[in-house]
């Protein structure tokens, strides 16, 4: 294994969920996590920092998850970074749509923060960069 998952960007407009995800990934999973409260903020962070995995909340005011994904995909430097969604919309048709626009996976809310790091690792392992 050339590289293990360490840097994760999490984008969500809900501060409570951001706090839980941060706790889960940083303290339970031990990852290097950056948090953004909007798509625009995420793009700012990405200007100076390149994560190995980006987790996007699907529903956000202003720029939502898919829009943020599209914006990120505009940047060739970020082309290899896998993006997954964390959303309450887990209908198969929705999952299908997220995958069609380039998501490597969908993590359903509510999630178990204790098992989230493993879920993230599995996701990254399946879609991760070589």
């Amino acid at each position: 294994m050339a590289e293990s998952l360490n840097r994760i960007l999490y984008v969500d407009d809900e501060p409570d969920i951001r706090a839980i995800v941060e706790l889960s990934l940083r303290h339970v999973g031990g990852f290097d996590v950056q948090m953004a409260e909007s798509g625009a903020r995420a793009l700012e962070i990405l200007d100076g920092w390149t994560p190995q995995l980006i987790l996007l909340d699907a529903m956000m005011p202003g720029m939502d998850g898919p829009a943020t994904l599209a914006a990120i995909r505009q940047r060739p430097s970020l082309a290899g970074v896998p993006i997954a969604f964390m959303t309450a919309k887990v209908q198969p048709s929705e999952v299908q749509r997220f995958k069609e626009i380039g998501a490597v996976g969908v993590i359903a809310k509510p999630f178990d923060p204790m098992s989230l790091p493993n879920t993230v690792r599995e996701l990254w392992g399946g879609a991760g960069p070589t």
Partner: protein, 703 residues
């Protein structure tokens, strides 16, 4: 007899004892007539003595006519006989008169001959010229024949005959006593003077006077007889003329009498009956038929006519009754139709009737307004111009192709099968909207009549959509805080060193209940998806047996917690096509239910089975079971036998309805058999043919 015959023929009807009730009612009684006549100030008709006429009424018409003509014949014959007798008298008196005249002529002939003889004889004697003797000789020669003729003519009359005999004797006496001797003397010149003297002395005058006297007597007697005959003849003639006159008058009077009688007793009644018959034939049964009481043919006719009239009246009454009945029925039909129409028109639902060809036969007001046309415009139009079945309008291209192909002929049988309401799209002139269609089939005159009831469900659909949107929104909105709560609790529980035992217990309670809350939200979302038709299912090749084993393994801790024995009896692989997550959800629901509703120490047995192209999974427990009253509602939303269950058992009443919907979406079905201590839920799904190449491709959605 003539007087009798002149009696009015219908007097029998007035005074007769044979009056029938019909006549009684048809014409007033004599008393009434009199009274009425009094009142009207008219002459009082006095019924004449009607006995002979009544007797006559008893006779048949041919007999009556025979009697009348016989009477006339007898009268005429009597008159003829009587006249002939008079003619006989006239003829015989004429003959007698001629006889008398002949006798008188014969007497004069004898007298002439006597005179001729005497004159000739005297001339001869006086003049002596024999030429004078010639007439005497001739007269003497013819005298015998003249006497003979006279004898012959008086043959039948004794007195005259006797006189003729006397005459003959006297003639002979003159001839023999005077003429012949005198002639002989005159011829002899010797005695001629003597003869001349004798002649001068009027010789033979006495006997000649006797002859002349007898001749006069005979002639006088004959003349008397002739006078007698003439008188007799005149009498006979005048009698004959008078008798013929009287007889003729009698015949005429009798004929008149017969005429009056016949016209009164036959012709007038016949005319009346004819008029009545015409009236009845015209259909006028109100006419009065007279003479039914008569005992002759006219009576028979009148009775026949009366019965005809009564039949006609009965028919008229029947017709009137029938017409009244028809009118009443029509009015009733009309009224009930109007009532029905007003009921139908007051309905908010559209009601259409169509025939088997789909042609609209009727529509109520709401129906017409739904389709955006006048009622009259709608009649005769094909109903499929306005209605579309969702399956026809719908998504599946192959199915809709089949349906469209069949639309021409099979639309109705396809669309109208079954009586349960179905959703259709109504394409009205003004708007399109969803409607619920209920079809009822009736047979009208051996042809099917379809009644279509259309209920506009736009509003209901809108409410449903809003409800679904509401549930969806609320559920999603609930998830976000739940994510935080649940996540926080889990994280806190992940740091046991930082927490006291009490705090850890409290956090576990919070954790359990936040999970329940998440389950409720998930169930609500599932229900919403099922009802809005947005429940998407994957179609993966699966082994239901494996899923069952997994589920049993997953739930074993729960079973232990409830002190329930949980086991799975495998029947090898149970291949199906389905959504693994959803089928896991179904199995977890069924098994956890069985555990929850078992008593401590009970046993839950999950058993797989295959049969006839289907797989079967049963979940058996020996808990108290499902009460009978609750069984029909078991698979309904928010159904719990005991409302306290939701707290005790941690259920929300949604689980089994979701289970049932998911199983049915997989083409399977759920059954329940339950008695106390013996409850079994059975899940049956179509089996996947393991080796078949037509296996559903992995990842395909179940339609």
């Amino acid at each position: 007899m003539i007087l009798d015959l002149n009696a009015p023929a219908d007097s029998a009807a007035h005074g007769g004892t044979e009056r029938t009730s019909t006549q009684e009612s048809a014409r007033p009684s004599p008393d009434a007539t009199i009274a009425d006549a009094h009142a009207a100030g008219a002459d009082i008709p006095i019924p004449p003595d009607d006995t002979p006429a009544r007797a006559l009424q008893g006779l048949s018409i041919p007999r009556r006519l025979f009697l009348a003509f016989t009477l006339l014949f007898v009268l005429a014959a009597a008159v003829c006989l009587w006249g002939m007798r008079r003619i006989d008298v006239i003829v015989s008196t004429t003959r007698d008169s001629q006889q008398a005249l002949a006798v008188i002529q014969a007497v004069e002939a004898v007298r002439t001959a006597m005179l001729d003889q005497e004159t000739g004889l005297r001339g001869y004697i006086v003049a002596g010229d024999p030429t004078f003797l010639e007439p005497t000789r001739q007269a003497m020669q013819s005298q015998e024949s003249r006497l003979a003729r006279l004898e012959a003519l008086t043959q039948g009359d004794t007195d005259q005959r006797r006189r003729v005999d006397t005459l003959r004797a006297e003639v002979r006496d003159w001839q023999d006593g005077y003429a012949n001797p005198t002639l002989t003397m005159a011829t002899d010149p010797t005695t001629r003077a003597l003869a001349r003297d004798q002649a001068r002395a009027l010789g033979g005058k006495r006997s000649m006077d006797a002859v002349r006297g007898t001749l006069d007597a005979i002639a006088t007697a004959e003349r008397e007889m002739l006078d007698e005959h003439l008188v007799k003849q005149q009498n006979a003639q005048s009698e004959g003329v008078r008798g013929i006159l009287v007889g003729g008058l009698m015949i005429v009077a009798t004929a008149l009498g017969i005429w009056v009688l016949l016209s009164r007793s036959l012709v007038l009644p016949i005319l009346a009956l004819t008029a009545a018959l015409r009236a009845i034939a015209r259909g006028d049964a109100s006419v009065t038929v007279t003479g039914a009481g008569r005992s002759d043919e006219l009576g028979t006719m009148a009775r026949a006519l009366q019965s005809l009239k009564e039949q006609q009246q009965a028919r008229e009454r029947q017709r009137a009754d029938r017409q009244a009945l028809e009118r009443r029925m029509l009015a009733t039909v009309q009224e009930s139709r109007e009532r029905l129409d007003s009921i139908l028109n007051s309905l908010a639902d559209g009601v259409l009737t169509i025939n088997e060809a789909g042609v609209i036969l009727s529509a109520n007001r709401a129906g017409a307004s739904m389709l955006g046309r006048d009622v009259r415009q709608l009649l005769g139009l094909p109903v499929d111009e306005f209605l579309t079945l969702p399956s026809l309008a719908g998504a599946n291209a192959a199915a809709s192709a089949v349906l469209e192909e069949a639309a021409g002929t099979l639309w109705l049988p396809l669309a109208l099968e079954g009586n349960s309401p179905r959703e259709v799209e109504v394409r009205g002139e003004e708007r399109r909207f969803p409607a619920e269609l209920t079809v009822t089939t009736t047979q009208l005159d051996d042809r099917p009549l379809y009644t279509l009831v259309l209920r506009d469900i736009t509003h209901r659909k809108e409410v449903e959509r809003m409800k679904d949107a509401f549930i969806s929104t609320v559920s999603h909105e609930l998830r976000t805080p739940l994510t935080s709560i649940h996540g926080s609790i889990r994280l806190a529980l992940g740091m046991p060193d930082a927490l006291s035992i009490q705090a850890q217990n409290l956090l576990r309670i919070s954790d359990r209940n936040s999970e329940r809350l998440i389950a409720i939200v998930n169930d609500l979302l599932d229900i919403e998806r099922i009802e809005s038709g947005t429940l998407d299912l994957k179609a993966d090749k699966l082994d239901l047996g494996e899923l069952a084993a997994e589920t049993v393994a997953t739930l074993r801790p729960m079973a232990e917690e409830h002190s329930v024995t949980l086991r799975y009896i495998s029947a090898g692989s149970l291949p199906v096509v389905g959504d693994p997550r959803r089928l896991r959800q179904v199995l977890a629901n069924l098994v956890s239910n069985a555990i929850k509703y078992s008593n401590a120490g009970g046993a839950v047995t999950v058993q797989g089975d295959r049969e006839d192209g289907r797989v079967r999974l049963s979940v058996h427990d020996n808990g108290p079971g499902v009460p009978d009253w609750f069984k029909p509602r078991l698979f309904q939303k928010f159904a719990q036998a005991d409302s306290s269950d939701s707290r005790q058992k941690g259920g929300n009443g949604l689980g089994l309805s979701i289970v049932k919907a998911i199983v049915e979406r997989h083409g399977g079905h759920m059954t329940l058999t339950s008695h106390p201590g013996d409850t079994e839920f059975v899940l049956t799904l179509p089996s996947r043919r393991i080796d078949a190449r037509s296996d559903a491709p992995a990842g395909a959605d179940i339609p």
